[in-house]
């Protein structure tokens, strides 16, 4: 599974987007999942690469936990998440024999697996590859960027929540992007307020304002605020397509708007 497969497997991918944060639990996997679904609804062919080795959340978000990964002649076949094969996924979650077993690896072993994930998955033709990352600025991130560099990623979507504690970490992530030469497509502020289903009062559960302020300070686009919606949480837990099932939710509107901005920022490709 070596150099012979390498140039081929990513050559069919038009655009690569990394979803980063620096802070854990802000919704990177959620945003990766919903962005992929929104791009698919816009008629694009999408792949998701989940390089969070310690906490691979994405399989469950599509109800794909426990699916097996097969080898094909070009490498590993990604798991297709729909009958039309318009959305596919690779995650270490598929390689774990026991889902409760911890992947307790130090850096070098993680780097090796990420390199394999990047080069040995037979994605085929894709409009977008969304790469979900773990929190932090460490081995996995450096390995992923080094492995993807030759394919000129479109850029990074950086996710934060409104609080200063998140923004504090995400500022460092923006520095990381600068240092590694990764273009920042924009900042997404997630968990931006909760509307009480009983009285419709909107509460800033996790403070307010951090995302816009961060984007302004760093001179990068602010792509939008995504409010909290328990139906989104439920969809992710149960592996349903929130974009398809809840078009009336303000969270849906926010997510579609962000996806549209990505589409608008994508340079047209020569056929």
């Amino acid at each position: 599974m070596e150099a012979a497969a390498e140039p081929g497997n990513l050559a069919g991918i038009r655009h690569i987007i990394l979803v980063l944060s620096g802070k854990g639990g802000v919704g990177k996997s959620t945003i990766s999942t919903e962005l992929a679904l929104a791009l698919r609804h816009a008629g694009k062919k999408v792949g998701i690469l989940d390089v969070d080795l310690c906490g691979p959340s994405i399989p469950r978000m599509f109800g794909a936990q426990g699916k097996a990964v097969h080898q094909c002649d070009r490498g590993w076949a990604p798991v297709f998440l729909d009958r039309e094969q318009s959305i596919s996924l690779m995650s270490v979650g598929f390689l774990l024999e026991k889902p409760d077993e911890a992947v307790v690896w130090r850096g070098p072993k993680k780097n090796a697996l990420i390199k394999q994930f990047v080069s040995d998955v037979a994605w085929g033709e894709l409009d977008y590859l969304v790469v979900d990352t773990p929190p932090g600025t460490s081995d996995e991130h450096m390995a992923a960027i080094e492995a993807l560099r030759a394919y000129q990623p479109l850029g990074a979507l950086v996710v934060t929540t409104p609080q200063a504690v998140s923004v504090g970490d995400v500022r460092r992530e923006l520095t990381f992007c600068r240092k590694t030469g990764l273009r920042v497509m924009g900042v997404v502020e997630n968990m931006s307020g909760f509307t009480c289903p009983h009285c419709k009062e909107c509460t800033s559960v996790f403070s307010r304002g951090g995302g816009e302020e961060l984007a302004r300070l760093a001179g990068v686009p602010f792509l939008g605020s995504v409010p909290l919606d328990p139906e989104l949480m439920r969809s992710l837990e149960e592996g349903h397509d929130f974009i398809r099932e809840f078009p009336g939710s303000p969270t849906f509107t926010a997510l579609i708007s962000i996806a549209q901005k990505i589409l608008d920022a994508t340079p047209a490709c020569l056929p």
Partner: protein, 286 residues
């Protein structure tokens, strides 16, 4: 364990002799409130002026503790006996990589071995003095930092780990892995805290589940894996606000259900540590 780590382990064991109780705050999942919990555990324990508390933040990439403790911009000083922690109160000292960074934009882009080196220094070179409780806040995951802190403290005896989760399966699935990690490395588990457990609307006072426990929440997981559920902390918007301001949430909202939940959990942790201590003393004396 490599040869180069051996002397450090002995040195750390010596250093830790003046530290009575050591508690690790873990999760597996990011963003569930480890740092928030660690900070408030420290504040809660430090309310007893006769107790000396130390809070060590080993999240090298995302050091949140300085902000939450209102210590942003503070620097670490060296003395003959090592690095001095930064004191919030006379009896509450804090150490974090955050204090070693000159700017809030500085990114710590280190691979595993360098992170391990920093953790070793934090454990070996910080002059904590006589401490009743050392609380170690960890980053999410089960990687270098977690392996290192467990290895370096292996001979210094950790009382146990408190695991933080939120009610959703996406958190629980990571916390189950963390429980397995603890069992693998023989780290005692004090118990699990379910954070962000329900939200009370400040206007109409009705409860909502922002993060629905679709697979039974922490309660079912704890039953299945036979670990204690220490308590549930509801979402209170004042928690986030106070963390942003670097203040103790207990001072701002002493009667909040979240404060009451925290206090009950802190008491259970103290009871666990006291029980462990007396068990050991009985063993030594018998």
């Amino acid at each position: 364990m490599t040869d180069s780590q051996e002397p450090a382990i002995e040195e750390i064991k010596e250093k830790m002799k003046t530290v009575k109780h050591k508690i690790l705050v873990l999760s597996g999942k990011g963003g569930v409130g480890k740092s928030t919990f660690s900070a408030h555990l420290a504040h809660g324990l430090a309310e007893d002026e006769n107790t000396q508390i130390a809070l060590l933040d080993i999240d090298i990439c995302g050091p949140s503790i300085p902000k939450i403790m209102g210590l942003e911009g503070e620097q670490v000083h060296q003395s003959g006996s090592g690095w001095s922690p930064v004191y919030v109160e006379d009896n509450l000292g804090v150490m974090s990589v955050g204090f070693l960074l000159s700017s809030p934009d500085d990114a710590v882009i280190w691979r595993g071995p360098k992170k391990n080196g920093m953790i070793k220094q934090f454990l070996r070179d910080v002059d904590w003095g006589e401490v009743d409780y050392l609380i170690v806040d960890t980053p999410p995951g089960t990687s270098d930092e977690h392996l290192s802190v467990v290895q370096y403290l292996a001979t210094a005896r950790i009382d146990g780990a408190v695991l933080i989760t939120t009610p959703q399966e996406v958190s629980l699935q990571d916390v189950r892995k963390e429980i397995n990690f603890c069992r693998k490395v023989k780290l005692p588990i004090i118990g699990v805290v379910e954070n962000m457990s329900g939200f009370i609307c400040p206007k109409c006072k009705k409860e909502s589940q922002i993060f629905p426990p679709t697979t039974g929440g922490a309660e079912l997981m704890c039953q299945d894996l036979e670990v204690p559920l220490l308590g549930r902390v509801p979402l209170d918007p004042l928690i986030g606000k106070n963390c942003d301001k670097g203040q103790s949430f207990f001072t701002d909202a002493p009667d909040s259900p979240a404060t009451l939940a925290y206090r009950s959990i802190i008491q259970r942790i103290q009871e666990f540590c006291d029980l462990r201590q007396s068990k050991e003393e009985n063993l030594i004396n018998s």
